[in-house]
Symmetry: C2
């Protein structure tokens, strides 16, 4: 079993549907500094929604708020279809973990929308930037810094982590990189969601100063259908991320993820805490 699928393993708890409850366990393979990689936490929430027996359609949007770091061990995902319309369904969700006193605490809140989509007039206003193909670029091995980085193969294109922390102000906050699961795994909505959170903190790029940072809230919009994800298979994604504003302890980030064929699969936004 791929480590990503193992990290998303969920067991239904009871038969309640208000909300439906799923038991999971944190994965050492996706460990970040002080908790799981946020992309894997978001993917766990989405996986629970996709397991719900009343699911309508496919993911359209999801917002995940990181209220507290998960600790290593078991957790419960609670998901509720708060409103089901003809072609859209609105979800609320939470991850709950017991504290040291055995009291359940909310560690993650989330909302999501799933939708039945049909083919319509479509147009992209964000063409994939012209960049070298992944095979033309060297791999960069920062796998050892944190466990989750070892689960991805990355080929930096531009805007990489500064080589030296010399406090130099960068000229912009844009990073481009090719990324895929390591070992490769066919793309699905959960792994696409996880990939929308793989970028190192923009504040490091903009100001080569080592600064603790962590995502507070992420929102990802899915533009691709399950068929387009299948067509992408285990191929590379081009990721691009930029910040707009760094202000008083928080910056924003906007990201795009294209497949190698240049199809914009997802766009994503987050607000990130930084200590400065």
């Amino acid at each position: 079993m791929h480590a990503f699928d193992a990290a998303l393993r969920l067991e239904p708890v009871g038969t309640d549907r208000l909300p439906a409850r799923f038991a999971g366990h944190t994965s050492a393979d996706y460990w970040n500094m002080v908790g799981p990689f946020g992309g894997s936490t978001a993917a766990v929430v989405l996986a629970a929604i996709l397991r719900h027996p009343d699911l309508l359609g496919a993911p359209l949007s999801i917002t995940v708020n990181y209220a507290a770091a998960l600790t290593q061990g078991p957790f419960e995902v609670q998901v509720l279809p708060a409103r089901t319309n003809r072609s859209t369904q609105h979800w609320t969700a939470a991850i709950v973990q017991n504290n040291e006193d055995g009291q359940p605490q909310v560690v993650t809140t989330a909302t999501a929308v799933t939708a039945v989509r049909r083919e319509t007039w479509s147009l992209s206003d964000r063409p994939m930037p012209q960049v070298p193909a992944p095979a033309e670029l060297p791999a960069r091995g920062f796998e050892r810094a944190m466990a989750w980085l070892g689960q991805y193969e990355m080929r930096p294109v531009s805007g990489s982590i500064p080589e030296t922390w010399d406090d130099r102000l960068g000229t912009d906050s844009t990073t481009r990189l090719w990324i895929r699961d390591q070992p490769p795994r066919p793309l699905d909505f959960c792994s696409l969601l996880a990939c929308s959170d793989v970028f190192f903190p923009r504040v490091w790029l903009r100001r080569a100063t080592y600064t603790p940072a962590g995502t507070v809230s992420i929102t990802t919009y899915f533009h691709a259908s399950a068929q387009e994800l299948q067509a992408t298979g285990p191929g590379w994604l081009l990721g691009q991320a930029s910040a707009q504003e760094f202000r008083n302890g928080f910056f924003d980030q906007s990201a795009q993820l294209w497949n190698e064929a240049g199809v914009l699969l997802a766009t994503s936004h987050q607000i990130v805490y930084y200590k400065a």
Copy 2:
């Protein structure tokens, strides 16, 4: 009383805090096509959070999902501080309205984060575009189309609604406009949030074809402090909005709002249904 404040009038219901409940009523002044203007609905959710006795800090981010159109009449806002940390607080919220059978139905879901912020190193990567001042631009009167438009004074800068619906493909999906409350009202977090949803559907601009469209989910990040909003006062905001992808019934929109002094007050993202 300003119409915006009247639209946000809330009365506590009972003394429960799990969740706290507030009674409100839709405003005819902010009516859109088939329900209230989404910006005012989002502002009502935020107003309830800001009224909660346990509030920590000021708004950092909010996501509002429009599960169903509100009908004219009373509604209830339910807000819960799901997790309170040292300097951040995570909120879940919903708007509930009774259906024809008197059964409460979720019409809006939301999450938000409030935070106590302190001054840090800060930097903007999204300078305000160079545009003519509002006084140099003519007002455009589309007030009569929908009631809520009459509550705003707008000065289009570029990317206005097509004059003719001739199916012409536009060259991009960017709109710039100056906006303020009509009559002017000192800016606060709720009115800033409402302003982040004032843009007409990007699909109209990109393809001059009249197309029904409606926001499904909006996320707004607040970069400004209460002091910066106070300094903006009743002044103009420059709003800019662009789409990245129109695909199979949904497009995304990213927006920025600066004050006249060029301070980026908020950035906002939404996913929008369109019928094509």
